[in-house]
Amino acid sequence: MRYLIILSAALAAVSGSARAQQPADFQTSFAAEAKQSDPAFAGFSATRGEQFFFSRHGGDWSCSSCHTDSPVAAGKHVVTGKPIEPLAPSANPQRFTSPDKVEKWFKRNCNDVLKRSCTPQEKGDLLAYLLTTRK
């Protein structure tokens, strides 16, 4: 019985949000969220994601302001000059592996660039674009 409890606890820990994920796992959960908020959801588009990445969305900054015109290149914070590791998973395997980090940075950067939260559709489109970029 005790082993069963330990086993269940271990399984719960593994399936918790702290578990390292792959970019495809994020794509799956963005799709589920998108479907929930829009029944007409018809998948993600790398082309739309690319437009999103370069658009200023009516403000001063785009994603590319800090992440440069190439998501596989190292970027630089547009205000402080601090180096930023590449955003594309092909160039930086750490990207899109931690749900906490993904949530934190989408919250911050969407507020900075769009002055609002990003929709699941936008996040999925952007990730679809990033996954097409190669070093």
Binding site: T80, K82, R108, D112
Partner: protein, 159 residues
């Protein structure tokens, strides 16, 4: 009893000496990995000693509007980092009209330390902003501001 007074006097003398040494301190060990990771991802993790506690409190209570960008943290991380900053905060008063200063660069101490630098240096592309400590203090990411790691970039140098 007399020896107790003596011990207190010596202790007071020692702490005065260490306060004096702080004024010339050039290395500030960054002992909280969460602080370095969270705050150091957008800028140099500034030494907590360079602002007093009221300033850190004010900075940390406005992270969603942090010098023009959203630097918000989840609550546990924000509270833990604030605790670290306050525990290691400086003692030098830094306020204007009763309001705590939010920028290290606005403190009298910072301005005194950098008063020999010309506007040309601040304007270099490699420097960009006085908040970019690492442009000259090449070990600033480790909290080390000693002269031996100080390299002022030359004009025209690549950033």
């Amino acid at each position: 009893m007399k020896s107790l007074f003596l011990a207190t006097a010596i202790a007071a003398g020692l702490s005065l000496t260490s306060l004096g040494a702080l004024a010339d301190q050039k290395a500030f060990p960054l002992t909280d990995p969460a602080y370095v990771q969270e705050c150091g991802s957008c800028h140099v993790p500034y030494p907590p000693q360079l602002l007093p506690a009221p300033s850190w409190l004010a900075v940390m209570s406005g992270l969603d509007q942090h010098f023009g960008v959203d630097a918000s943290l989840d609550r546990p991380a924000q509270e833990a980092i604030l605790d670290y900053l306050v525990r290691n905060a400086g003692r030098r008063e830094a306020s204007v009209a009763g309001k705590p200063l939010l920028r290290i660069t606005e403190t009298r101490w910072f301005q005194h330390e950098h008063d020999e630098l010309s506007a040309r240096v601040w304007g270099l592309a490699a420097v960009k902003s006085p908040a970019n400590c690492g442009a000259c203090h090449t070990a600033a990411d480790k909290g080390d501001y000693a002269e031996r790691s100080l390299r002022v970039p030359r004009a025209g140098g690549t950033p």
